[in-house]
Amino acid sequence: MSVPNEPSRRGFLGLSAAAGATLLLGSACGGGGGGSAGNGTGKIRALFMKQAGYSESDIRKMTAAFHQANPKISVDVELVAYEALHDKIVAAAPAHTYDVVLIDVIWPAEFGSKRIVTDVTSKVSGGIKSGMLPGALATAEYRGHYYGLPWILDTKYLYYNKAHLKKAGVDEGSLDTWDGVVAAAKKIKAKGIVDAPLAWSWKQVEALICDYTQLLGAYGGTFLTPDGKSAAFQTGGGLEALKFMRGTLDDGLTNKGSITWIEDDVLKTFSQGQASFMLNWTYGFAGANDPKASKVAGDVGVRRTPAGPGGKRPGVNGSMALCVSGGSQNQAAAWTYITYLTGASVQDRYATSSLPCWQASYDDPQVTKANPDVVPVAKEQLADLIARPQVPRYNEMSQVLQSQLQRCLAQGEDPAAALNAAADQAKRILA
């Protein structure tokens, strides 16, 4: 019993589908559009990470101080775990959700080339260029363009439990090489002080690549061939680094939990006295020395990352930068906020959480007195950093490598076979 002109269910759905298809084709491939400077006041949203570096409380205090100094700008702060940061920035980009985003040193190539973050080269003044540490400034640089200002300058240091070393009769000076660390770990294990003295961040996430990079550097390896078109980690230092990692697992020196840990887990294990050594970021020193959270407070030693057989000991460049997002409609206010947070006075005040990016800060008593143990080590280590490959499809390459490294570490695959498989898969990504 249909009535003429009555919109049937099928007709209605058909109409909706047709409307959808029309809109779809009209909208081509994506929403969004370019950003605009805005009037330099009003509300902006900023995305940070809740892990390592500055704590949530630090960021909220910094922002509160910024509000006092800039009452016409209001900032909404949002924090996510590091593991969710990249995807959150990407997913929010077309909707212009955030005006300021914190990005890792490995993302400028990807984000810059896709206009997810704004090119701020013209705004990076001579004062910034001459005042900041060169390693820090490179954090947000890709092909001669700047996409943000460095805010977290970090690398991984070797932390050790002095009490464990003393009990085992190990000299701290022997920790300058990985061979020395392994020998010390064997003594500690043999004396029953700790069952597995080494703790690492070897979960199948970016943290694994950070630890691997540091070891690859120590063994004199490189990620890519000089022309940047092929993988090179499957030979030389890259292969030796993985053999070293696997060897410490096979010898029972590395805690097997490492395969499931990120830096926070490693810090907890070390802080409970269940590990004698850890590689960790700057925040690890303050964390392990916090008597409220750590059983080993006061017993924590920090040194440069140990050297491999060739004497090389670069730290992984784990810096991060604050960027104006590509679609921000209030870029002027976003830039004001970024310059405030990355300014020397703010960075110096919070130097126990993350070391400043400014050269002069390392002679500032506010910084050196706050970190008497870390600053001298950092001064040397930050001058010797190794970068992960700056390629636009970095995430894909990292995932391939993470998976194959874990095939060796967790499944017992031969190190050369695992890295060859990764190099094979990397061909498509680097092409």
Binding site: P7, F12, S16, G20, T260
Partner: protein, 300 residues
């Protein structure tokens, strides 16, 4: 004529009332679905607007030839089969217990519903805590019972990790299965079991010969429903293992997410999503058929 005009007016009025809901459905279901289909034919490598090369069915072809996808499909099938089977067995035991004339039956039912009421993210975080190799209660318990002498890295080996994610999933979803089956059990007239008992059948025989055959329609629905859900598993993997170790817990939906958002291969990710949709559609067709059959069975 006036009657016809009146009905036409009513129809347009109904359409006007439906419009807000239709706009929402269109905005959050139809438009994204069509858009994903459109994108799946392009090599889209950025979330930003732009002209991306048309690749036809290239993305679909790449999905079928990617060994990572087949590996993830294997994990997904294993996860689906084992978790659904375990949930059915444990769900049945719980349902029988909840259906028994116990004094504190209300309390038992309230307790059983708790795991299902927990958000999956919380459930995953809780199991991560239990299984943590250094501070987890499982290692502490087993060590104190002298069942292990070294702490075990429960999520450190791929196959073990996959099975433990299944345990976490089963712990949560068994409640749902149990309540479905309880509803089915309550439709079985008690006289049938009594008659079987009078005829000399024991409780086990009664269960297999009377209860189980009558529960078949409910079991079928539960099976297909849970299979569909298990096939789409994502959040518990994201929280507990992140797909590791050695990609051993990567499922198809998790891999789709990685490809689309981490790798920014939106075309490829959309193609994967559509292939998953086809599998889910096949399962849901079976589900709807079974539902219809059981309804018809109930009517006769």
């Amino acid at each position: 004529m006036p009657a016809s005009r009146d009905r036409r007016g009513q129809a347009w009025f109904a359409l006007a009332l439906l419009l807000p809901a239709a706009v929402v459905v269109f905005g959050v279901v139809l438009y994204p679905a069509l858009r994903a289909l459109y994108i799946s034919f392009f090599d889209v490598d950025s979330p930003m607007p732009g002209a991306y090369p048309f690749v036809g069915i290239g993305n679909y072809r790449d999905v079928f030839t990617d060994p990572q996808v087949w590996s993830a499909a294997g994990h997904t099938v294993y996860f689906t089969l084992v978790s659904t089977a375990a949930e059915l067995v444990f769900g049945m035991l719980l349902a029988l217990l909840m259906n028994a004339p116990l004094r504190a039956r209300w309390l038992l039912r309230a307790i059983v519903i708790v795991p299902w009421a927990l958000p999956t993210i919380v459930n995953g975080a809780m199991w991560n805590g239990i299984l943590n190799s250094q501070s987890g209660v499982l290692n502490a318990l087993l060590t104190q019972l002298h069942l292990i002498d070294h702490y075990v890295s429960w999520l450190g080996s791929p196959f073990l990790a996959l099975n433990l994610v299944i345990v976490a999933d089963v712990w949560k979803n068994t409640s749902l299965v149990a309540f479905f089956l309880l509803a089915g059990l309550q439709t079985i007239p008690p006289q049938l079991s009594e008659a079987a008992r009078v005829d000399g059948a024991g409780p086990v025989r009664t269960f297999f010969s009377v209860t189980l055959p009558l529960l078949r329609p409910t079991i079928a629905i539960v099976l297909v429903l849970r299979t569909m859900e298990a096939f789409k598993v994502f959040d518990i993997i994201y929280v507990m293992t992140g797909g590791g170790p050695a990609s051993g817990t990567q499922t198809v939906t998790f891999l789709t997410y990685l490809k689309a958002f981490s790798d920014q291969r939106y075309g490829y990710g959309s193609a994967m999503a559509y292939l998953i949709v086809i599998v889910i559609l096949a399962l849901s067709t079976i589900y709807l058929r079974l539902l219809r059959q059981s309804e018809m069975g109930g009517a006769t």
